[in-house]
Symmetry: C2
Subunit: 347 residues, 2 copies
């Protein structure tokens, strides 16, 4: 199912504006959600709109952003998001990080008391639009156990790194730290298939090939075992600890509508031209891209892709077709439309 892009934009903006949100803030959230769905990262697209709306209605996310600057110098800042919408806080924080990089060669903005901000790549990409490298990390509610653990204590913390390519799309890594997405475990169960032993553990913390054991009381495992776990711990330190926000088990799920979430972000920008000339940089990137794309292919491989490239190809094609959407999401959005007194989406 494909929804016209402009219709989708208007719909999403109206949802947030109907809750008293200023139009420019609604537009930021909408653009981040839209980009996720266009790139077919549906887990972070308009599927999340209803829960954002519910959290705003319950006062768990502020309908008007009120971001406070706690520390501010030439290269760094610490912001208090004051429970404003995650997308708005992250967007403003990344703008500040870019400004600081412009001034000092590097800029780091730490953020506390923000909310779920959608796809990390969106903010890392903001840096690439100014010929800069962006690195964005966030903590989230705990989802994975430690290595040898049987209890959720660390988030599937996303890390995005984006570098401009000078030639169309940036090179973008946007990864979470579990070995696989929960959706793939559900898919294996529906198809009565076993899962690889490193995808998850059962309720006792023992690796299992039975998807059902991961789904019922088990946990996803970190990618690469201690490597993914280690990255998740360091991500927690660079976000929640550095910004003095909540960490680990202190963070409730965004689907718990009785508690504020209080998420922390790490927004780093590097101003390339203060290290080397942009000509040199773009020539080197072109060379690197060629080494990767033109390397000898494995038997059966038709094309080798750079980080983020497949998502940009999907975005390009979906921009012509419209916003791809599951029927279930469509139906839920139209239930919401009724509740908010907004014109429903049409296919």
């Amino acid at each position: 199912m494909y929804i016209n892009q402009e219709q989708m934009r208007n719909f999403s903006n109206k949802c947030f504006v109907s809750l008293g949100m200023p139009k420019d803030e609604a537009e930021i959230i909408t653009e981040v959600l839209l980009e996720a769905d266009l790139r077919e990262i549906h887990s972070h697209g308009f599927l999340r709109l209803p829960i954002y709306v519910e959290r705003i209605q319950k006062g768990l996310i502020q309908n008007k952003a009120s971001i406070k600057v706690e520390k501010d110098n030439d290269a760094i800042a610490l912001l208090d998001g004051d429970y404003s919408a995650g997308q708005v806080v992250a967007y403003k924080a990344m703008e500040k990080s870019i400004e600081k990089a412009e001034q000092s060669g590097i800029g780091l903005v730490a953020v506390k008391n923000s909310n779920h901000f959608g796809i990390s790549a969106y903010y890392a990409n903001m840096a690439t639009q100014k010929d800069k490298i962006g690195i964005v990390i966030s903590n989230v509610a705990p989802l994975m156990p430690a290595i040898g653990g049987a209890e959720k204590i660390i988030g599937n913390n996303p890390i995005a790194i984006a570098a401009p390519s000078g030639d169309g799309n940036p090179i973008v890594l946007d990864m979470a730290l579990s070995n696989t997405a929960f959706g793939k475990v559900l898919f294996a169960k529906e198809n009565n298939k076993e899962i690889p032993k490193d995808w998850g553990v059962n309720s006792k913390g023992i690796p299992t090939t039975n998807p059902d054991e991961v789904i019922n009381g088990g946990f996803l495992s970190p990618v690469g075992g201690p490597k993914g776990f280690g990255l998740a711990v360091m991500a927690e330190i660079l976000t929640g600890v550095l910004a003095s926000g909540p960490i680990s088990k202190m963070i409730p799920s965004m689907y718990d509508v009785n508690q504020k979430q209080s998420i922390s972000h790490f927004m780093l920008t590097i101003d390339i031209k203060q290290f080397i000339s942009l000509d040199l940089y773009y020539a080197a990137i072109k060379q690197l891209v060629s080494y990767v794309k033109d390397s000898k292919k494995a038997e059966g491989t038709e094309e080798i892709y750079l980080p983020g490239e497949i998502e940009f190809l999907k975005e390009k094609s979906n921009k012509e077709q419209g916003v791809p959407m599951e029927e279930q999401t469509f139906l839920k959005l139209n239930e919401l439309a009724k509740e908010l007194n907004i014109d429903p989406l049409k296919v």
Copy 2:
């Protein structure tokens, strides 16, 4: 086999000094090698001393460091290592990165024309000794193919992130980006065991469970597939591209003694106290450590470890016993002693 620590220090220092290296530079290399062996990361310990010596003898690594500052402001710098020893260049670069962080809240030093620098964690830990967070990345000669590739095009680039804990050892992640170490593939072959399908591919780029196919013409695979590959590509951009050094296939192996190597590093330091008070920081770290260490254990697990903790426990125990060493390494070092006219090592 265990070698007395002071004997090992003197031996290593004498090797480098006998080549005309200033004593303080020899000592830096020795300490980095020693720390690797004490933590039982033997692949980066004194096993590498003979190849460093050979490269210095051939003029591929300078016996006296001559590091040039190409760019320098309050928060960032670009250094040209001028083919000096990697450990010396990285040590000086990290000192500079720490100074800049002290001044600006964050410091980034990009380095080109350096050499293999041993364990990345050593330099990231330098930041933790000053109540700071350190992030160190290096590129290395290409070792892995792209996803769907059948040719080495990206290094098993190491990434280290270290955060002070305020209570003994820092929390340290030091990881390379392959799924497993080559040594583990060799070990499986010797024991006639199959390897998991995600450890490596054969010469045609196809995942294989036969260790022999990885060893003979095949390649190690990146950890987590596209995640590890993506991290390796971004690491290459943050090192070789940002410092305008060689990248990917331009970098020869350190065991190719006909060519200079020219390695690039990324040394980032974050000054915690410019974001939040050290009291707040260390209290949050203590809480995080407790969430992890005291979490519910999996059946059969006796203790849960933080990133780097196992290595520090090994270091502690080895500091009492001496430097652990394989007999083969011992014999090679004593062959080298003869060549350099130095007293041999004794067990």
